[in-house]
Assembly symmetry: C2
Homo-oligomer: 236 residues x 2
DNA sequence: TAACATGCATGATTTTTGTCATGTTTTTAA
DNA sequence: TTAAAAACATGACAAAAATCATGCATGTTA
């Protein structure tokens, strides 16, 4: 069980330099601090559900969250992985629609909720923050377009390698410097890669046989990152 | 050869009610009108190239444009199809990066160019327009996420059917009410679906045999839209 | 702790999709 | 108008990936 600090103020929040909100003017940060609601979600709990209406945005203080989307046949597709400092729920809110994805905690996670009206009013009165939001949306759009291209053009072996690198970029390693600091099921990895669970299991075994990773249940160690990058066949 | 009207003012532009810019305040529209540069691109010509720096945004007055992205192996992936009233080039500009995709005219197309500085300054001073941009970005992000899920989960047959419906939604029919009013090569359709050209050709032939479409070179007629929707296996 | 459920792993098989080869048609340009 | 190139079409084959089946391991709960 993870332990969190007592609810903090936005001014002293661990994420005050990493979140988009850090770009807001001081007066608005004060207001957000007064109106925010802090909550802890246990592993597996849902922050919000695909299909329901947004009442505000969520800012992750500490923890890990997956954002996933149900395909037309009811299969989960993981769209994004989120960590401390990340904001979520803004897309549906800005385009005035229901949530198009569900947010589920991957481990115990502390989250601040900022009500819709406040978020919109701050955005209206703080051009800097509005620009940051546009930048954030643009970056997400870019990532989505790249992922889309890879899904269309790359074989699963390359996409799995890429996904492992992506997980590492997002959540980093544990203290040992090699173990990915998140526990995902094989099915979740498959839903991130966009393939069948069995294919993921098989390829992970191959990666292990090739000495690129080490597997111990849900613990995954990246032994040879360079080879993994090569396997992912990435440009840049 | 398509014929266009003489360069018009933004105030009398055919797209003045459909583009995002119609939400801008009157004073800014005047300014945009003064600084915009109108241009005609012939079929196949490039508006901008992946990898180069943006100097402004483009607003399509009349015509059709594809936005495409090169995969790591150099294969084209068509990200978006654009028509009159659509704006493009804003993503790279807002996130301060190079273009991540190329824009190429699918037919003779009239385009207005709005310089970067003007676009940014209007955005800074017109909250309404900024919100429209956020909404636009949110909508694009949503579409990208849905497409991503379909690429990951749906077989090519379903994706091709969906793509034909998407082309119809975007560009509509010719006067006869059945012929798609855009001419795309089989390869372009394949690059939209995310598959090999041969697979696209084969499946189009099947669709024809099933009586869903009629093929006459690049002319595609949608004969049984309901069946096509069923084939696409869409939710909603 | 036993019984059950769930997740992981692997083999066998089928289906889907891509690739290669070849011929035809259509476009383009000389 | 003709020659060349590009696009379209189709068959044969190979490769990739999904599905089905089964067994083992792990974890959960009565």
């Amino acid at each position: 069980m993870t332990h969190f600090h007592d609810p903090t103020t936005c001014q002293s929040c661990a994420q005050r330099f990493t979140s988009v909100f850090c770009k807001a003017k001081q007066e608005f940060i004060t207001e957000i601090n007064e109106q925010k609601i802090c909550n802890i979600y246990k592993k597996g709990q849902t922050l919000f559900n695909e299909g329901s209406y947004p009442f505000g945005v969520y800012c992750i203080n500490d923890g890990k969250v997956k954002l996933s989307h149900l395909g037309d046949d009811g299969k989960e597709q993981i769209i994004r992985l989120l960590r401390g400092g990340d904001v979520l729920g803004y897309r549906a809110l800005l385009s005035g629609e229901r949530y198009s994805a569900s947010a589920i905690a991957l481990e115990d996670t502390q989250v601040c909720f900022i009500p819709k009206e406040l978020f919109i009013s701050v955005l209206k009165n703080d051009t800097g923050l509005a620009f940051e939001m546009m930048k954030l949306l643009s970056d997400e759009l870019h990532k989505a377009e790249v992922k889309l291209t890879h899904l269309a053009q790359k074989p699963i072996r390359e996409r799995l390698a890429e996904t492992l690198l992506f997980i590492k970029e997002t959540y980093g390693f544990e203290a040992d410097g090699v173990t990915l600091s998140v526990r995902l099921s094989r099915e979740e990895i498959a839903n991130l890669v966009g393939t069948a669970t069995e294919s993921t299991i098989r390829l992970l075994s191959e990666f292990k046989k090739d000495g690129m990773v080490e597997l111990d249940g849900k613990k995954i160690k990246i032994l040879r990152q360079k080879e993994l990058i090569k396997t992912a066949n990435l440009q840049d």
